[in-house]
């Protein structure tokens, strides 16, 4: 279903944009031909493996690699000694990819080997002896904040306080956002509810583990094949860590088997490159699933206090939240974004959100789809739900009453532009799902969510071929069908059929710099760049037509894939198609190409409302999702199938986060469930169909009105499901995941 509220902006008819065209990489992906990270081999290739710390926190006293070095078939061993000085901005990454004085979490890399086969590499790892001095550790966020907690980094002094403390602690920084006076607001309320929530760390859970092949030649030139969300980022980071000129490292992005933010940084890539440098041979590294869970970048666990006041008529008078996120052993959790996003759906007079960035003995967190936002939204939307229930108000009406709209002041500061939150709420209210009957032990919940979206550095190149086809090179890896959407936007602009444009992901030597595929930016930014590159090419095509006709270029217009004389005054000339002009390119001045290098700005924010029905089994505590509907503003859905796919995928990741997924650490600080059997992501039989309603409130910052859609979809589910389960169980849930034991506890059964 597609909802287009009245909007004067951008009424435009499209030929291709908005159609469900076949995807260009489809055949390769259904026949097994597509080459993912681990599918690449190179001549003379070695296999690299990593030795990881079994301790959550330990001093590394000595690493003895002598025995391993003597093993036949071993060609290189690296430790932190092989990573020399680097820029300050890379220090944390350098320490995360290879532990230096201390191992900071269970799974932290301490050494790596390259050998002729995986089995030899495995034997070699066993021969490396590491002397550890085990230190006290802390993995829980609230524990880590206590004054007597073991200090992980004695150079860490809390930032963001009025006075920088004299003693180091695990609290990296304090953030505060908001406006108005919350205390005054609470006095105006008829009801104030205050609650504390907890969420556990979860993992992006991409099915393809990290993988790469690195090849460094004796001439100092290197090549890498990597599954990543950003091969330009991999190039710059690896070059920076190993002191290589950026131009001497060429990185090609493989097909990528999911990322969701987890592949926006490096883990094994610099290690493979260091091994290759030492062995002087190509080195392939592939993480096992256990390594992915123990030592890539999961999201934060959190502990959140929320206080919200409401009048009897549903007006929210004040909102106050304190969010505490642990982001692993290094500063930089997503807490500022959680604090900025949590109240964003509401236009509040008095609002404050405080965020604490905390470190703990866990893997360094990486971005996960709308980083930091789902937990914050979970806490706020839960309290709003409870207020509605207590005051006997309709939760959608209350949200509509308080919803942010065009021009309202966002809780994090600036004023919003054109936004679509109310449209998603209206769509939800009018959907049959909202009125459907519920049975025994069943409940319904709704929640809203917000994500910023952004653009970023983008470079695109478009070549017009002699036969009238077009080659489009972009630098942003295609995770979910973006080649189709970007190619379609170029075809739309050029006025040629979509299958005449072939969109490829170019390597780092072939294009200018591109930021990583993240922040829901690709369809927005690469699409915008593709449109501009197409316009650049159209300008040149018109010049050629002008030359052929012998008229000034401003007397030529481009319409539906053809150059035409602008008016009768320009003379009578048969229109020239793109193919006609391309065929004469050589004779009229050489190849025709369009380029675009931009820092794309103007990514419109995106809001969503989710609605979910669940059933709770009071005997076992098991929660079943019965029905799920996503209402989200996409601005303009370039390829509706992939927009729906993003909505559905985000909702289901949210279901996993809400119901099953969690990092479980034992007392000794080791991860207890590093496998898909125990870290259980939703499977097919857990789920119903996921209905989607695409709302289109065009983004004025994009030529076609596009907004990023990839991230917002994971923001509302935690809250929507928790509200639904609370409705079904008749008790307020305040802890994720709502796994059977946690539900039984909440029901007072155990």
């Amino acid at each position: 279903m597609n909802v287009q509220p009245d909007n004067k902006a951008m009424k435009r008819d499209f030929d291709i944009v908005g159609k469900r065209t076949p995807r260009p990489d489809g055949i390769d992906k259904v026949t097994g031909r597509a080459r993912f990270g681990a599918d690449m081999s190179m001549p003379g290739m070695l296999w690299g493996l990593v030795l990881r710390s079994p301790h959550a926190h330990a001093k590394i006293k000595r690493i003895d690699t002598s025995k391993a070095e003597k093993l036949n078939g071993v060609h290189a061993i690296v430790t932190s000694k092989d990573f020399g000085p680097c820029d300050d901005s890379l220090l944390d990454i350098r320490e995360n990819v290879m532990a230096r004085e201390k191992a900071l979490y269970d799974g932290h890399a301490v050494a790596a080997v390259a050998a002729v086969s995986r089995s030899v590499a495995r034997q070699a790892l066993k021969l490396i002896k590491v002397d550890y001095q085990v230190l006290p550790h802390v993995t829980d966020v609230d524990e880590a904040m206590k004054p007597d907690a073991p200090v992980i980094n004695d150079k860490l002094f809390t930032k963001g306080l009025d006075k920088t403390p004299k003693k180091p602690s695990n609290i990296a920084e304090r953030f505060e956002f908001g406006h108005g006076e919350v205390e005054k607001g609470f006095k105006e309320a008829d009801l104030v509810i205050e609650r504390t929530f907890r969420t556990e760390a979860t993992h992006q859970g991409y099915i393809e583990p990290h993988a790469c092949v690195a090849s460094m030649g004796a001439d100092g030139r290197g090549e890498m094949w990597v599954c990543t969300q950003g091969h330009f980022m991999v190039r710059n980071t690896c070059a920076g860590l190993l002191g290589i000129d950026v131009s001497n490292l060429r990185v090609t992005a493989s097909e990528i088997g999911g990322g969701f933010g987890g592949k926006t940084t490096v883990f094994i890539e610099p290690v493979a490159l260091a091994l290759s440098l030492k062995a002087n041979r190509p080195v392939k590294m592939v993480m096992s699933r256990e390594e992915v869970l123990r030592a890539s970048g999961p999201t934060s666990s959190s502990s959140i206090d929320v206080k919200i006041g409401m009048k009897k008529d549903g007006t929210i008078t004040a909102g106050d939240a304190t969010l505490r996120y642990q982001g692993g052993a290094f500063p930089g959790s997503a807490v500022p974004y959680g604090a900025m996003a949590c109240f964003a759906p509401y236009d509040l007079k008095n609002v404050r959100a405080i965020g604490w960035d905390v470190i703990a003995n866990r893997p360094k967190q990486a971005a996960y789809r709308a980083p930091g936002a789902p937990m914050g939204a979970y806490a706020i939307e839960s309290v709003i739900d409870e207020l509605c229930r207590e005051l006997k108000l309709d939760p959608i009406d209350v949200r509509l009453k308080n919803a942010s709209s065009d021009g309202s002041k966002a809780s994090y500061g600036p004023n919003f532009g054109v936004i679509g939150l109310k449209a998603t709420l209206e769509a939800a209210k009018n959907h049959p799902h909202w009125k459907a009957k519920l049975g025994k032990n069943q409940g319904r919940g709704v929640a809203c969510g917000f994500w910023f979206n952004f653009g970023g550095e983008t470079s695109v190149s478009l070549n017009v071929n002699v036969d009238g086809t077009v080659g489009l090179s972009v630098g942003t890896p295609d995770i979910g069908g973006s080649r189709a959407s970007i190619g379609n936007m170029a075809a739309e602009e050029l006025g040629i059929p979509h299958d005449k444009v072939r969109c490829i992901i170019a390597d780092t030597a072939s294009l200018g710099y591109n930021d990583v595929t993240d922040g829901s930016r690709v369809t927005f930014a690469s699409g915008m760049a593709a449109i501009q590159a197409a316009r650049d090419a159209i300008g040149k095509l018109c010049e050629r037509a002008a030359k052929i006709w012998g008229i000034p270029v401003d007397a030529v217009v481009w319409e539906k894939g053809h150059a035409r004389p602008a008016s009768p005054n320009a003379g009578k000339h048969e229109p020239l198609s793109l193919a006609d002009i391309a065929a004469q390119a050589g004779a009229t001045g050489g190849p025709i190409a369009g380029h675009c290098e931009i820092n794309a700005e103007g990514a419109g924010v995106s809001f969503a409302t989710h609605m979910v029905d669940s059933e709770v089994d009071p005997e076992t505590g098991h929660v079943k999702i019965l029905r799920y509907t996503v209402f989200q503003d996409a601005g303009k859905a370039v390829h509706p199938s992939y927009v729906e796919g993003q909505f559905q995928g985000g909702a289901v990741q949210g279901i996993g986060w809400a119901l099953n997924e969690e990092y479980i650490y034992s007392k000794d600080g080791r991860l207890q469930n590093p496998g898909f059997l125990d870290y259980r992501i939703p499977v097919c039989s857990d789920l119903p169909m996921i209905d989607t309603v695409i709302v289109e409130v065009p983004n004025p910052g994009h030529p076609y009105g596009v907004r990023g859609v990839g991230e917002t979809s994971i923001v509302p589910p935690l809250a929507a499901i928790s509200n639904s389960v609370s409705d079904a169980a008749k008790v307020r849930m305040t802890r994720l995941p709502m796994s059977p034991p946690n539900v039984l506890k909440a029901l007072g059964r155990i």
Binding site: F177, Y337, P414, F454, E601
Partner: protein, 81 residues
């Protein structure tokens, strides 16, 4: 002069208020002026900030022009997934 607003935890860095007026014609000018006048701001700018101008988010573009009555907001540097 352009009024620049900062996120809550930066208030102490600019003397306790949530906004301050500085001279400048681009985001770059404003950030430079702030860094020169307030050491706390210099530190924040060095670590990276995002700036919104009339609600439009600029993650790292600094040559964006600003006018005296624009609404300018400084926020922590954004990342995505």
């Amino acid at each position: 002069m352009v009024r620049v607003q900062v996120w809550g935890s930066l208030k102490p860095a600019i003397g306790g208020d949530d906004s301050v007026e500085v001279e400048g014609e681009t985001i770059n000018d404003l950030l430079k002026a702030l860094s020169e006048q307030y050491p706390g701001m210099a530190e924040a700018v060095r670590r990276g900030v995002s700036v919104t101008v009339n609600g439009e988010m600029y993650a790292n573009a600094v040559m964006v022009p600003v006018k005296p009555d624009d609404e300018v907001f400084i926020l922590p540097k954004l990342v995505g997934g």
